[in-house]
């Protein structure tokens, strides 16, 4: 028996890659010789029993498989070093022992990522290369940052401790080479990627402090349809991406500067401007409602956000070639004294929150080249009271809770959101 290598199979047991080496032999009279032969096997063991034992799909190869990582889909990524002088290659095998893909090169698989891909270092160049779930190279870093136990990434010996984004690892127990961030062959499950996003939500606490509503809107005279505006400005968050806003900047998945919200559960990252300081505080929201029929998007704050609550963005028609762009939030400070103080500093019509969303609606006006509408006020939510348009444009603050149901109905179509 040769080359036994073992890693965990998620929380189902272990997976052993091994081989049987049959030396060459001949019959006693020198005839009937049989050449040497190697059979590579893929064996799953669960509860003390062999549940699967199959020959590996390595036809024509002369070596067995050394597993390094378990990918997001349960397949196993590792290396094959042929003994016949052929080039080594990285391979991904399904649990059925079928070869999913292979890439020729002297790699060292390092991290299985949540998107089904893998990050491997090239032993010749030291570069870290990202591969997608089909084995296609998709990017390259000069070297692999060290993955920390908390999911962050850093370079040893460098003060640039947080310049790398956290890498979302696959949800199994062997997503990192060596089983964990220290490589001690102890299987761990990286919590960052399997934690349900719902539990990350940061909801406002009505009895802990202020929780207020606020609305910014603008009425525009334009021939562009609400569908066009929804698709080009609301879904793309064009007003707060690409540094268009002086107050905040949104990015999409993988730091993409281009945002396109098409469904619920999408994570958007927000960085706030800090004119006097280096660095930016980044935090996230998750889309909660994406309603293309009614042209509404809403999002809930996630843990780490300085606010706790919800916000919606919508466009609707109030007449022929007469539309309204509106955004409203119902939120309070996030946990902690720092957020509490920050909320008071940022709230009010002259505060940063209203200023940021005033810029948002003004950007859409500017981008459309549309003049301002003519309505003097808007009766939001059928309260019977029209709020003057300029108050709504500058940033209307609802300290009384009169518009709570209106705002939450836009967020989640209910008077109570979660």
């Amino acid at each position: 028996v040769i080359w036994p290598s073992l890693i965990t199979n998620a929380d189902q047991g272990v997976l052993v890659s091994w081989g049987l080496d049959f030396p060459a032999y001949c019959g006693g009279n020198g005839v009937g010789c049989v050449a040497s032969n190697t059979q590579c096997k893929f064996t799953l063991i669960s509860g003390g029993h062999v549940t699967t034992d199959k020959p590996l799909d390595l036809s024509g190869r002369t070596s067995c498989f050394e597993p390094s990582l378990q990918a997001q889909d349960g397949s196993v990524v590792g290396m094959v070093y042929p003994q016949n002088g052929a080039s080594p290659f990285m391979a991904d095998f399904a649990q059925s022992a079928k070869l999913n893909w292979s890439v020729v090169g002297d790699f060292q698989p390092q991290i299985a990522t949540a998107d089904g891909g893998v990050i491997a270092t090239n032993n010749d160049t030291g570069a870290a290369i990202t591969f997608d779930a089909t084995g296609k190279a998709t990017g390259q870093m000069g070297s692999l940052p060290t993955q920390s136990w908390t999911g962050g990434a850093y370079r040893v010996g460098s003060i640039d401790s947080v310049i790398f984004p956290a890498i979302s690892t696959a949800g199994g127990f062997w997503a990192l080479a060596g089983g964990n961030a220290s490589g001690t062959s102890v299987a761990i499950q990286q919590v960052l990627t399997i934690q349900a996003q719902q539990s990350d939500e940061q909801l406002p606490c009505d009895i802990c402090g202020p929780v207020w509503g606020n609305i910014n809107l603008i009425e525009l005279l334009t021939s562009q349809s609400v569908d066009y505006i929804f698709q080009n400005y609301i879904q793309t968050f064009a007003a707060v991406t690409h540094n268009h806003s002086s107050q905040m900047n949104f990015t999409g998945a993988g730091h993409s500067p281009d945002v396109n919200v098409t469904g619920t559960g999408q994570i958007l990252t927000i960085t706030l401007s800090r004119p006097a300081s280096l660095g930016q505080g980044a935090f996230q929201v998750m889309t909660e409602r994406v309603d293309s029929a009614n042209h509404v998007i809403s999002a809930v704050t996630l843990q780490g956000h300085p606010l706790a609550g919800w916000r919606y963005w919508r466009v609707y028609s109030v007449g022929h070639n007469d539309i309204v762009i509106e955004t409203g939030g119902y939120d309070g400070p996030g946990p902690g004294a720092k957020n509490y103080v920050g909320y008071y500093l940022a709230s009010g019509e002259d505060g940063m929150i209203s200023r940021g969303w005033r810029e948002y609606v003004r950007y859409v006006q500017s981008a459309l080249g549309a003049p301002h509408g003519l309505q003097s006020g808007f009766d939001l939510g059928g309260t019977g009271v029209a709020i003057p348009w300029h108050e709504l444009f500058e940033g209307f603050w609802d300290h009384s809770g009169l518009y709570k149901n209106y705002i939450l109905n836009n967020v989640c179509q209910s008077a109570s959101c979660n």
Binding site: I163, N260, R274, A367
Partner: protein, 227 residues
């Protein structure tokens, strides 16, 4: 007792003078931010870099207060703002640079052997050295251009770049492999673009310091008047 009184009076006087001085002194800060769109075909590649420059004028006291506000995730509004667009055209082995002041674009689109861009709802056409307003027919035609990345549509591809901390974009331009390396370091506050054509050396084609710069009043005025 006399000494204590003397020290107390001196302390109050010093604090008053310092605060008075800070209230009278203005501090001028300029901060740039940028990102870019890469547009390429088998014949040529364009890197369009949007740079937004924001100016902040604080009294000395407000400047100190700004650090405190920033700690609480709150910031002031800029007093001045301007945009510019850097254009890098690559036809290996040549790399040409252009700088367009007072304008930025949100969408770039190729059509009928021309490059178009949209700024504040208006479509502009690239002339080879500058952008000029497109004709009414072109305005109509290009309004619906997609804001999203695309690959190989009539030979053209377009990607937003400058989001991730590190990014390599590989293209084949002029029968040569071309690699654009983008670094956007938010901690050290800079954005850089390096270009490598074929087996040639890597060349830095753009660098933007995104950190806050303290400038004099005259420099501040000159900067925003010039734009």
């Amino acid at each position: 007792m006399k000494t204590k009184t003397y020290i107390a009076v001196l302390t109050v006087a010093c604090v008053t003078l310092t605060l008075g001085g800070l209230a009278c002194v203005d501090v001028y800060i300029v901060r740039d931010s940028g990102d870019a769109t890469l547009l390429w075909s088998p014949e040529e590649a364009y890197l369009f870099i949007n740079v937004t420059s924001r100016g902040y004028r604080f009294s000395g006291l407000n400047y100190l207060a700004e650090f405190v506000k920033n700690y609480f995730n709150v910031s002031s509004a800029p007093t001045n703002e301007t945009n510019s667009t850097g254009v890098v055209r690559v036809v290996p082995p040549t790399v040409q640079h252009y700088l367009l002041r007072n304008i930025s674009f949100d969408i770039y689109a190729p059509s009928d052997h021309n490059i178009y861009a949209r700024s504040r709802g208006i479509i502009w056409k690239w002339t080879g050295t500058n952008f000029e307003k497109a004709t009414p027919e072109e305005q109509q035609k290009l309004q619906g251009a997609t804001p999203h990345d695309f690959d190989n549509i009539h030979g053209w591809s377009r990607h937003f770049v400058g989001g991730p901390p590190y990014q390599d974009v590989r293209m084949d331009v002029g029968n040569e492999p071309v690699v654009l390396s983008v670094t956007h370091n938010s901690e050290k506050a800079y954005l850089s673009f390096d270009l490598r054509c074929g087996t040639g050396p890597s060349e830095r084609v753009f660098y933007l310091d995104e950190g806050p710069h303290r400038v004099s009043k005259a420099e501040f005025r000159r900067f925003f008047e010039q734009h």
